[in-house]
């Protein structure tokens, strides 16, 4: 069986909620439906046009609901249809997009709805992450405490100046001010104000950290016929990629994990991209703590190892730079955990569809959507473009 059998797939529409720390105005179903309705409207479709639904979210303990997709079947218009529930830790939003894409590429369905959400205010993510499972290293104070040592190792290995993290925060929060859906919108943030914010997990300061958000994202993915039938711009999915490695093992490189590097190489090869920095116009990369921007730029091959911070410091990752990263404001501005990956995928599609509004990168034709999760061990990503080949 040759991969020539693979069908083309394209993003027909995207939608997201207004992300906030608490959305008491809606139930979980209402939150998801807000994103779904926007995605369908963007695609010019109705729920009846959807053949299958893929739901993604991070741990069920984050809301205190076991397999919430069962209860959501009605609200998502899935009754009588196939429904899959994906969970690959923090990368799940990306994995949700990849699974939905595979369903179309395999010729199973004409139009698939991918939905991802997190309603953190329904429970307490910090608690859910701070359990003490046997034979596993506890996370203690949540994700920041886990990742801060990796950031310190990156600074030591690369010799990056210590203000680079704050530069990322300033850029992303200002970008978020251009995005009407962003949770944190801070047009007046400065390097000085970030550096004056409280230190949470050395060297990660309060302003360099993602918020806890309620939010959802939805993407409609269609086959070639559906894409060609659409009167609106679509984003052709050129390639997808997923890789996993264990959390802990002798020789694990937490700064530059092999799973991420392998996923990136596989992605570029499948998309026919030889030099990512020259051929990718804009990247939506999963950056929950500021320093992960330069770390992932290196992991993905946008920069040589140890040199990613130079792109950030030179302003090349801002809108208008050589490789704009997270023009939407990214995870640093909105972090509905389960949806954060699909938001990266959706925002990359919006860029090549030309629907990103004030945070549109002019002339973007090819874009990367990226997500990671667990202990820097789950990676999912895609490349979208304004033309199919």
């Amino acid at each position: 069986m040759a991969s020539a059998d693979k069908q083309r797939a394209a993003v027909l529409g995207t939608g997201q909620t207004h992300h906030r720390s608490k959305r008491p105005d809606v139930s979980i179903a209402g939150l998801c439906r807000e994103a779904v309705d926007r995605a369908l409207a963007d695609a010019g479709l109705e729920l009846a046009d959807i053949d299958a639904v893929v739901v993604g979210k991070a741990p069920d303990l984050f809301e205190g609901v076991m397999m919430p997709e069962l209860y959501l079947a009605d609200a998502l218009g899935a009754v009588g249809k196939p429904l899959l529930r994906v969970h690959t830790a923090g990368s799940v939003g990306g994995a949700t997009g990849v699974v939905a894409t595979s369903l179309v590429q395999a010729g199973r369905h004409r139009r698939v709805l991918a939905v991802a959400f997190e309603k953190q205010s329904e429970s307490n993510a910090m608690w859910a992450l701070s359990i003490m499972p046997p034979f596993s290293m506890p996370l203690l104070a949540g994700a920041g405490g886990y990742f801060a040592p990796h950031v310190r190792a990156y600074i030591r290995r690369s010799g990056a100046p210590t203000h680079v993290g704050a530069l990322v925060a300033v850029k992303d929060r200002r970008n978020g001010a251009l995005n009407p859906y962003a949770h944190l919108r801070q047009p007046d943030i400065t390097l000085e104000s970030v550096q004056a914010s409280p230190m949470l997990w050395d060297p990660v300061r309060y302003d360099e950290t993602c918020p806890s958000s309620d939010g959802a994202c939805a993407v409609v993915i269609g086959d070639q016929a559906a894409a060609e039938a659409s009167s609106r711009p679509v984003a052709w999915i050129r390639a997808t990629s997923m890789r996993t490695e264990p959390t802990m093992f002798a020789g694990k490189d937490h700064v530059n994990p092999r799973a991420g590097a392998d996923a990136g190489k596989a992605l570029w090869a499948a998309a026919g991209i030889a030099s990512p920095i020259d051929e990718i116009d804009v990247a939506e990369i999963y950056v929950p703590f500021s320093w992960f921007e330069p770390m992932w730029l290196e992991n993905l091959g946008f920069a040589e190892e140890g040199k990613g911070w130079q792109l950030t410091e030179a302003g090349e990752t801002a809108i208008g730079g050589r490789i704009p990263v997270n023009p939407s404001g990214g995870v640093l501005c909105s972090n509905p955990i389960g949806a954060s990956g699909l938001l990266r995928f959706a925002e990359s599609a919006m860029q090549v569809m030309g629907t990103a509004g004030e945070h549109q990168v002019a002339g973007a034709k090819t874009a990367l959507g990226h997500a990671y999760g667990g202990g820097s061990q789950y990676f999912s990503m895609w490349v979208v473009a304004d033309t199919p080949d």
């Binding site: 069920d60 303990l61 984050f62 079947a73 009754v79 899959l84 529930r85 499972p133 490695e245 092999r258």
Partner: protein, 355 residues
Amino acid sequence: MPEAAVIAFAEAPNLRRTDGTTNGVEMLVPIFREVFEQTGLTKSDIGFWCSGSSDYLAGRAFSFVSAVDAIGAFPPVMESHVEMDGAFALYEAWVKVLTGEAEIALAYGFGKSSAGDLRRVLALQLDPYVVAPLWPDSVSIAALQARLGLDENLWTKRAMAEVAVRSRAAAVSNARAQPASDELEVEELLSEPYVADPLHAHDCAPITDGAAVVVIAAADRARELCERPAWITGFEHRIDSGSLGARDLTRAPSATAAGVAAGAAAAGATVDVAELHAPFTHQELILRAALGLPDSVRISPSGGALAGNPMFAAGLARIGHAARQVMSGSASRALGHATSGPALQQNLVCVVEAH
């Protein structure tokens, strides 16, 4: 010509309680070894891995993350996970094979159901705002479903008990099944006390720790690796409403739709064997009707879920047992079924054939 086939299956012993962790590694490592021995494959031959499990069952976030340790996932692997029965992981793996991105894929499911109070844990699958706060447990919901059918004369308590007697007797031939006995009698079972009226203990699947693994391969590789592959000719799943009050609980329209789409009941092409994931006796009766299975079809020769119901693995095991019937030459067409959610809300059908 089908594009993929099941080439290997293994399940862990179905046990009331195991000593291992909730991440499944202790149950998974031995059965991975079994399927590798059956096929001559090694982990580096697997192009895509996909697992099914539940954090709530494990009582912790990210339980599947530690399960990856059973793979030995370095160098890194192409891998995914569903918060569903492993049968749905197999579906995702099959889709990956259809795209051509993987030639050989391995799906696994695991569940340590003994780690908590299962019937209360499953209550958390219900609408979190208006139903779950009442804590209707899974056995009580199944009892309501059974009562509806009894009151409408759709089935009898005797017919339910006969399902239990047949399942437990069939389990005698399955060394890894949980409660097995070929000496049970319907009258005796009906005289036992109720667990949740009208359900007796024999009507309910046992609480089970377990795991299952199925390996599939694209056509060319399947012929190389397996003497008699179980070709996947239909693989479909559907979901019904999450609102119990909005459903006719005596029927399973999602099972019917999945079965029709998978060609399970196509005219002149009935199956020889159906492995049904029916955690309660009356649910087998609902499923047989929903799938249009005639009396000639052998039902769950493995003993079915009533002889071992490891959460998030039992559905995958049903497909594995159906495929084993074909691979061993005992059947030429078999059906594996999996269910998820309260009262048969979600159903999956996989049809496998010898040719």
